[in-house]
């Protein structure tokens, strides 16, 4: 008779350990309820805070008794670190839940078929919508895309393919450019283009400012993607007699296609909700404006801003509905970027 050796895992938790951990958990919850009830603290956050402190203390005291001071410290830090992660996640959960809860009542069909030219933000919700804002945001994004994607990808190509003597400084400048405050980009277009040349609000002006904000995102992400393309591909292209131009255009860029698309999508997500430069440059019209080169144009952030500042309950619902649409847009873009970037290099 043969016996098969079964590997034992002595480090795994036994059922006794699990019961013990769970009882600590329950104990900490009970303590937090009692503590908050007795003292004059109030609110859900107080419960959460006391719970974490109590749990940390209980666990570390237990570790101290059974395994000594280093284990106690370790257990306490473990609680602290988990607390950090929870605090990081709390705002995002709150933001998403609030926007959905308050935005859904304002999400009516006429929102997508009407603009605000015949309605004030304080009107009832079945009058007026954000058609002008959606078309405006689309116009702005497309214009910014057309200008920033070539520049961003060329910058990335310079950093990865040419590797000229300016590579270091340019990488540094692109990093610095990603920190340019959006309002400064707006002021720059205002002083350099709007006042001296066009002298009128238009979608193009807003798109120029958005371009400045989008270039660094596109350039940095594309650079990372292009770095990942194996050098063998470039060498194979050269060995077959291709010039550098043909190698890059026919081999490197197609191989990095999905990654470059990710870069573009992340760039769009970066600028879709940008508000400050649009307040300076687009004029925020209430009507659908088919001409992107002249006349004020609305956009989602501007619509939210206007409704938010109007201050009545109806207009606040409008603002939340606008935020919901904007958030969904960013969410969809983000998920698309994720899905593309996890895919293998396209064939």
């Amino acid at each position: 008779m043969t016996t098969t050796a079964v590997p034992s895992k002595p480090w795994e938790k036994s059922s006794r350990d699990r019961v013990r951990d769970f009882s600590f958990f329950v104990l900490a919850i009970a303590f937090s309820y009692a503590f908050v009830g007795v003292t004059e603290m109030k609110g859900k956050l107080a419960y959460a805070f006391v719970f974490f402190v109590a749990y940390g203390v209980i666990v570390s005291v237990f570790s101290f008794i059974t395994r000594g001071a280093p284990a106690a410290k370790d257990a306490f830090v473990k609680t602290l670190v988990a607390l950090g992660a929870v605090i990081t996640l709390m705002p995002i959960a709150s933001i998403i839940l609030t926007v959905i809860r308050r935005g859904l009542p304002g999400l009516k069909l006429n929102l997508f078929t009407q603009d605000m030219s015949l309605a004030a933000p304080t009107d009832p919700l079945n009058n007026g919508g954000l058609l002008h804002a959606i078309t405006g945001t689309l116009t702005l994004v497309v214009l910014a895309l057309v200008m920033s994607v070539p520049i961003g990808i060329l910058t990335a190509l310079y950093l990865t393919e040419i590797k000229g003597k300016f590579s270091g400084p340019i990488r540094f400048l692109v990093q610095a450019m990603s920190g340019v405050p959006s309002i400064v980009a707006g002021l720059f277009i205002l002083s350099a283009v709007l006042y001296p040349i066009t002298q009128s609000y238009s979608a193009l002006m807003g798109a120029l400012a958005l371009t400045i904000l989008m270039i660094p995102t596109v350039a940095r992400t594309s650079e990372e993607v292009l770095q990942l393309i194996p050098n063998d591909l470039r060498e194979a292209g050269t060995a077959l007699g291709g010039t550098q131009w043909r190698t890059v255009a026919m081999i490197v860029v197609p191989a990095a296609r999905s990654g470059l698309l990710t870069a573009v999508i992340l760039g769009i997500a970066r600028i879709a909700g940008e508000t400050a430069p649009l307040l300076l440059l687009t004029g925020g019209g209430d009507k659908v404006n088919p001409n992107p080169f002249n006349g004020p144009v609305g956009s989602l952030p501007y619509y939210i801003w206007k409704s938010f500042n109007a201050g009545s309950p109806e207009s606040l619902t409008r603002a939340w509905a606008g935020l919901l649409v904007l958030m969904l847009l960013v969410l969809i873009l983000f998920i698309a970027a994720r899905a593309l970037s996890t895919r293998k290099v396209s064939k």
Binding site: G43, T155, G179, A192, R246, G273, L279, F334
Partner: protein, 325 residues
């Protein structure tokens, strides 16, 4: 008899073809665009703001007054432009933000790298990256309508128990829309940035030393203290400065929650303050051409400030990444 014609040998050269020259030219041109844009921003803002900067001199950044009087014809009779109050507000709000965000981000980065199971790590990293992509107006509106009441409650608690520290003094008692509230909103906005920079730096901690620490019987915290923190310290500082730069330039989120007052205010909990970016939004609507020039000068100051902070931050992060081992 056939004539044996030898074809002339192919010319071999290492000189790039014309197509390559054109290609390299275009790519280099595109690559230099960031330099050109940053240069143009400086030049144009300085050009527009020059008049005001010359008029006010050093007072532009040391005085806390913003007043303009025009005569009946609409000409500027007298003007006082000083952004000291706004500069102080900018620094105060962003420092509050970094002080709150730094420990939280470092803890959550440690959690992600060394405590969380793999599947949880993947989910959390995605969610935190998503949060970094959320537009600032979302944080602004949410901060004003949802977060502000609780933060004011915390502010009152801090004032009640720590009010004897000059920083937390509130006189007269007015805690609504204070720099503290703006700081908390900004902290929430920069936590994802600092977390992801710290996470990347911590992930570069040398594996052999981590394993050596465990082999010597270290607990997880002892290992972190001995290996990860010395390795990542300066990188985390760099990440914090990136967050600081972001917080300094933030416009909409600050404008919605902050009570903008032209008064130099170092008291975190007192409801008065401002920042340079929100000044520009606040004054732009009804500004006269001359005042616009002053706003351009303010924009120039803000631009140079954030550029400086960002450059320093990138330098720190880069040098840590290189001296990884």
């Amino acid at each position: 008899m056939s004539t044996n014609v030898i074809p002339s040998p192919r010319e071999i050269s290492t000189k790039p073809r014309r197509s390559d020259k054109v290609f390299r030219g275009i790519v280099t041109g595109g690559g230099l665009s960031s330099l050109v844009i940053l240069g143009l921003i400086t030049v144009f803002l300085a050009f527009r703001g020059f008049e005001v900067l010359r008029e006010e001199g050093i007072g532009f950044i040391t005085k806390a007054e913003w007043a303009i009087t025009t005569d009946d014809a609409g000409n500027v009779a007298e003007s006082q432009f000083g952004i000291a109050a706004m500069l102080v507000g900018t620094i105060l709000c962003s420092l509050v933000a970094v002080v709150i965000a730094l420990p939280i981000s470092v803890f959550s980065a440690l959690f992600l790298n060394f405590y969380a199971p793999q599947w949880l790590k993947k989910v959390l990293v995605t969610v935190i990256d998503l949060m970094a992509a959320f537009p600032s107006i979302l944080f602004g509106v949410w901060g004003f309508l949802v977060l502000m009441p609780s933060v004011e409650y915390w502010a009152k608690l801090i004032n009640k128990y720590l009010g004897w520290i000059p920083l937390f003094e509130v006189k007269p008692y007015f805690v609504t829309r204070s720099p503290f509230v703006a700081g908390v909103v900004l902290a929430i906005m920069i936590i994802p940035i600092i977390t992801s920079v710290s996470r990347e730096i911590f992930a570069q901690a040398p594996l052999d030393r981590i394993q050596a620490a465990f082999a010597l019987g270290a607990t997880r915290w002892a290992m972190i203290k001995a290996v990860v923190i010395p390795h990542g310290r300066s990188g985390v500082i760099g990440g914090a400065m990136l967050g600081l730069g972001r917080a300094m330039g933030e416009t909409v989120a600050v404008y919605t929650v902050l009570n903008i007052v032209f008064q130099i205010n170092w008291h975190v909990l007192l409801g008065a303050g401002g920042n340079v970016a929100s000044l520009i939004i606040a004054k732009f609507g009804e500004a006269s051409p001359y005042e616009i020039k002053a706003l351009m000068a303010a924009g120039l100051v803000l631009f140079l400030l954030t550029l400086l902070v960002n450059a320093l931050a990138n330098l720190i992060v880069k040098t840590t990444g290189k001296s990884g081992r």
